[in-house]
Amino acid sequence: MSESVKAKKKSPSAESTPGNTAEGKLQQAKSEAALPALGVMGMLRWAWTQLTSMRTALFLLLLLAVGAVPGSLFPQRPANPSLVTQRISENPTMGQILDALQMYDVYSSAWFSAIYILLFISLIGCVTPRAIAHYKAMKSQPPRTPKRLSRLPEYGTLALPADAGIPASRAINDAAGLLKKRGYRVEVRDVDGALPSLGAERGFLKEVGNLVFHTSLIGVLVSVAIGGLFGYSGQRILVEGDTFVNTLVGYDQFTPGTNFQSSALQPYSVQLDKFEAKFDRESPGKAGQPIDYTAEVTTKETPDAPAKKETLKVNDPVSLGGTSLYLTGNGYAPIVTVRDGEGNVSFQGPVTAKVQGDNYYSSVVIKVPDAKPEQLGFVGFFLPTAFVSEDGISFSGAPELINPQLSLNSFYGDLGLDKGVPQNVFELDVKDLKQLNGRDLAAGGITLTPGATVNLPEGKGSITFDGVKKYIGMDIHHNPGQLYALIFGFLAVAGLVMSLYINRRRVWVRTGTHADGRTMVEYGLLARGEDHRLAGEAAALREIFAREWNIPETQDTATTTAGSSSTSKDQ
């Protein structure tokens, strides 16, 4: 899909191409209007020709660029489903229109898919015939020698003095040898005729590179599809001391590929031993910015395998059982003990606090369905370094645990967990609950520092803040296509470089004997596609010919270019 058309277009001004003139447009419109009379097969052929034409490919390519843009302007479901829901509920009319247009699922939308599928069909339709044509070209001999070499873009002549004793036939064979050494494929014609000539060609790898580039793009697309079919990904929050086992129930969230089977999960395990976060304490204006996250984990390939200590860091995933584990988040998990109205411990352990704002200002939800006689629920905030502003608003002053504090409201009643409806662990629906503690109530809110216990009003129980652990958010990914995508990516670059920097050139040389006995040599060069170094090649050829036949540089019968000495010309 690149230069074949270029060869035809050699008029220096693009404006003079027929498609641009009013008359040309009219003719084009007329011929297009007349086409539907071709019948079904004709129509199909016409459609195919249109689809695989360079203009259509270019149009689809630019359309792809335009089509990708909305995905960066609107939140996307695969990346941020909650934000999409929020946007739609904020502005239902507009949200629904946008949703109907698949603006929240741009990259899996019908229209975006249509663009890239058409583009790739167009690409295949373009690459296949070109590959066949190029295969044939590589097997065939250079084209016949043109009658008038002087019409070629680069042209020059040399004259060998009669006393040099180099006849036309020997000269052409010498030239053939020199061109072969320079990497040309050479065919000598009419060696014993009056005007022996040769045709030579080089740079077949240019088109090979071009084809490799485009084919590799198809390869990348297929690799992505393989990843989507057979891959899977999931998330898991792991508190210090907890263990994740790679089974479906082990995940907090799991996204299977279209063809995923749960038997594909290898039951390895990962235990989080320790998590450490370091924060900047020396750069001005950047205090509290994280500078290092390190998670120490113990892994086992299978339940019976020996345990292995590993370090999990951002940018440094752990590979295990065909998957990779990534450190994608972290936070604090305050440990609490809840005693119910009967005095029994009904909940004990770490509660993952969801980071909401600066310096790990996090929300906390505790659900205690085992509390008796009434189920208990707590909602509030955790602050690693609690401060109270002048307006009485609590905030976290630092990311480290300097003054940890838990502020909670408490509720009792039916938490609704027994109805079988899945609930978000980070949210508590207080609609059907009765509030026990709160800033507006007589009992006030619960404020806890480590070690402290607060009794709930009405003898409903108590809550103790035992301490704080850290947790990490871990992403687990398996993508069988990504290695292939990488390989095809590098192949594409190799092909691209080849197609841009190898020059396909043809050279013809003709020799003959002048009436005065001199042997005359003329040569012409033609480039296929963009080749700004053709003049340089012509000069180089002239030089090696001259050296071979001992012709002084000054003896030049017909200068090719205004300055044939210059090695790089622009046009």
């Binding site: 899909m1 690149s2 058309v5 277009k9 050699k10 220096p12 001004s13 693009a14 404006e15 191409t17 360079m54 203009r55 270019l58 390519l61 630019l62 660029a65 843009v69 995905g71 960066s72 695969p78 990346a79 741009v106 990259y107 873009p153 042209y155 020396e282 950047k286 910015q289 290092d292 996250y293 951002v314 940018n315 440094d316 990534y326 994608t328 992403d475 990914h477 993508n479 995508a485 990488l486 990516g489 590098f490 594409a492 670059v493 691209l496 841009l500 480039a527 596609g529 963009e530 700004h532 053709l534 003049a535 017909a558 200068t559 090719t560 205004a562 044939s564 210059s566 622009d570 046009q571």
Partner: protein
Amino acid sequence: MPVINETLGQYSELFMLLAAGTYTVAFIAFAWDLAKSSKTFQAVDLKAAAITAGEKVTVAAGRVGGGLGGPDAGGPAGRAERPTSGLTVEGGTAAGDMKYAGERRAPARVAVALTVLGVLIHGAGVVTRAFGAGRVPWGNMYEFLTTGAFVAVAVFLIVLIRRDLRFLGTFVIGLAIIMLVAASVAFWTPVGHLVPALQSYWLIIHVSIAVLSSALFTLTFAMSVLQLIQSRRQKNLAAGRADKLAFMRLVPNALSLENLAYRINAIAFIGWTFTLMFGAIWAEKAWGRFWGWDPKEVWTFVIWVVYAGYLHARATRGWTGTRAAWLSIIGYACVILNFTLVNTMLNGLHSYSGL
């Protein structure tokens, strides 16, 4: 963790300021060169017209054409026009080969000398910043802009060694000044550590290639804009209308600009392909997936597609010339958008890289 050296950081900012100042003087010199040259040429024209009334006028064209004669003399009959070697010199443009011509342009020499001085000071600023932070100097938008401007000017000067692209001076130096000012005013960030997500050797590879490609795109953007202006002007001149943009005489003809822009864009496109691929490899390392349509990824892809379209347009009939130039300009607009709007307005995984 490397130790942050604030003193070096402050020296760096001083160097940036001095560099911006030097560039400003260089910019004025480049602009003066354009203005003066257009006047000189007009004077030459007037003189030539006065002297050679009735005779053949070749002086002006020959002079501007930088020693290029008319059609090749002495060639065999039946010789066609040679697109690869014959330069289509239309009156009133500089030589298409962009070689240094004999004539001296004092303001341009001053401008280049000042640019060299500026780039040395600028380089000192970039290096002190790097040592101050103990890492590569492209970890946030301030550093990306200051380093990017340095690379753009350095690339421009390197190309100047072989080609007379001094006509691009006002453009390139102007953009460099804008970048330095934007960095200091809008994106100023003191020296500091990198957040964990940026602590990777891929930062060195991925971003350096992105900076270099962007610098090359900056050059071709300038060329494509000039190409459009020159192409219009050439049409006007061909139609016999008055030359309203005399300073454009210093600029080569539209076709030569297009060809050189294409060659530079081809290099930059390979660079951008690597930017995209290495970005994908890094994304896999950091986030677990090599592609996730994050806003930054989307725009990097859009830029790649637009420049791919540009390369294809050059091989499509009816799409060369002006249309290709527009694609190059749109591509650069996307590069700018990708840096400014996408980093600051659109919420994505790359958001940390700024501010």
